[in-house]
Subunit: 357 residues, 2 copies
DNA sequence: ATGAAAGCGCTAACAC
DNA sequence: GTGTTAGCGCTTTCAT
């Protein structure tokens, strides 16, 4: 039978969780709860001696503040949520690192949620942060859909978008210049003497992929090159491998003497291609075929030879995004901005050979 | 001037945050708050039509549950906290992925906190999860100190330790057999024909490093080999590079003809060593010097040649740890256990040369 | 400098 | 099946 609280009942306690509350600390220290609260949150208004007694009482009772009660009473939460498609992609880890660093300088905690490349999970995380009344949200979307974002923004949550740009939504966003990524790739391949470029890509429902492709197209047109496109079913390594075999077979068939440049839209695809060319012995890299990836994902770098890629400024993006978010939270005059950061070429063995990188 | 609530005051509201509450939803739907709560948490006890009206009211008002109030009233939180030293280390990303997967099957959210290799920050995160009354905590410690763990455990938080083992603390832990890691390295170097082994390590205040070193010692003794040890100041690549130069100089001086095996306690160190040997042209790898790392950290793999390393079962560790945590949370009869998982050798170019990997 | 007390938005009894 | 209501542990007035 559950005891109901009544007059004379000791503080009307109902549960026996054993977790000391601010009440117990107050009793232990012989002060009121308000004073304990102040000792914790506004030490300057509490006398030295009282502060010390409270400290001791906290120590003795093993008290730990209840974040839920705090957040409820104060109607705020000082943690920032970050939702990324996958921590397996080093780009997002870099973004997280950048955001973490910027938040740390302000004493804010960042909670990272990994959507495991699952769109529904991404939205669940978004909702969870909204329910937790997170101070703000950083989102690296996996989709053109803005339903999730709108929902939480309507609710007053500040969100800044990372690695994506929604023309129809007014919000801050920070992204890399993905067209420049594509252009950088094409230009590099030309620099190393390729007169033909093959782009290996996937269905471009993802904005970054779409933009990189667009950048490749533009650069190829500008430089008056031939472009051949191969669309593979997924970013899986085996897909790249198969594509490599196809390219190598074509090479053998035509007996071409020139060097062909292969641009993989991601490093995982490049990794697969290198396996197909080098490990399977189908073509000499980089002599016959120069291969490079376009997303600097270090998780895929341990192929047969080191991979040329385009380095994305992940940390910078994360940092910038966090700064925008903080500005949006603190400044009522805030106006939404879009920050676009440049990529950088990282030339390595798969295009320039050993010893030149 | 702040209005004080009084009789006749509409629900005694004090703030004008605009965030709809369960009260508003109830009014909108023409039902009581209890019914809204039930519609949300115990749909089966609410009639179909009422449920629908509540749903519509939620839709109309844009209501999002207040997690703080929920957690406070229900005295629970269903999210699990994971504290890792750094997401820059792919080992911890793998652990996170494993934990995430296991939690997802149970419908639990995992919040990841990155301590940025800062011990104080690790403890801050631990405290933050304790304040948030996280359902449980997974911790990959960076230190032998158990103060942080004891504090939160005293408070009833369940914590299982990952990649560390505290003989003096009774709690569940999941780790890799780091002695086997060291032994695997030595055995592999012997397999590829090394008759001398050099271990490049750092000050071993970190348990995994200490254990790997111990494993190396044991294996070397068992196989009757010579072991030379070089202690570098940090895991920084430049340190490895310098060590490589020293080793190469020694090789030249003695004019040794045999193959020497270099064991780097981490892949980042191995990466630096390879730069020192290969990029700087000081010694032929793997012909003269076979190099390998011991922690399978893929972030450091894009050296001049692909790196042999020891693969750590990160995902498996994360999954196992989460299962232990859930068991500890749900089962009162739970007894603490330690799970030790085996590593696996990953032979690549830096020890076996091209084409054999 | 300290105390008293009113809620924060919700859940979980319980009454109907 | 639905309504009522007492807290959950804290912050924040306001009085003292």
């Amino acid at each position: 039978m559950t005891r109901r609280p009544g007059p004379g009942d000791d503080a009307g306690r109902r549960r026996a969780t054993g977790e000391p509350t601010i009440q117990e600390v107050a009793r232990e220290a012989g002060v009121s709860v308000g004073t304990v609260s102040n000792a914790l949150n506004n030490p300057q208004v509490v006398s030295e001696s009282t502060r010390e007694r409270v400290r001791a009482a906290i120590e003795r009772t093993g008290y730990i503040r209840n974040g839920a009660a705090r957040a409820l009473a104060a109607n705020r939460s000082d943690s920032i949520g970050l939702v990324v498609p996958s921590l397996g992609n080093s780009f997002f880890v870099d973004i997280a690192k950048g955001a973490l660093g910027a938040a740390r300088e302000r004493g804010l905690a960042v909670l990272v949620a990994d959507a495991d490349d699952d769109f529904a999970l991404q939205d669940r995380h978004l909702d969870a942060f909204a329910e937790a009344r997170a101070g703000g949200i950083l989102l690296a979307p996996m989709h053109d859909s803005i339903d999730g974002i709108s929902r939480v923004r309507q609710h007053g949550r500040r969100v800044v978008v990372v690695n994506y740009s929604y023309p129809t939504v007014s919000c801050c966003s920070v992204l890399v210049d993905d067209r420049a990524v594509g252009a950088l790739g094409v230009e590099h391949l030309v620099d190393v003497g390729c007169d033909r470029v093959v782009l290996v890509s996937v269905d471009d429902f993802l904005q970054p992929v779409r933009e990189r492709r667009r950048g490749v197209h533009d650069a190829v047109a500008r430089l008056g090159l031939d472009l051949e496109e191969i669309e593979v079913a997924s970013l899986d390594g085996d897909e790249g491998r198969r594509a490599a075999h196809a390219i190598a077979d074509g090479l053998r068939a035509t007996g071409e003497a020139s060097r062909v440049g292969v641009l993989a839209v991601t490093d995982s695809l490049a990794r697969g291609l290198l396996d197909g060319f080098v490990t399977d012995g189908r073509a000499a890299v980089p002599d016959r075929v120069a291969v490079m990836g376009l997303d600097g994902n270090s998780g895929d770098w341990n192929g047969p030879i080191s991979q040329t890629t385009v380095e994305l400024p992940g940390r910078h993006i994360g940092r910038e995004a966090m700064l925008l978010l903080l500005e949006e939270i603190e400044d009522d005059e805030h106006e939404h901005r879009q920050v676009v950061l440049p990529p950088r070429l990282l030339a390595r063995e798969s295009t320039v050979g050993r010893g030149e990188g």
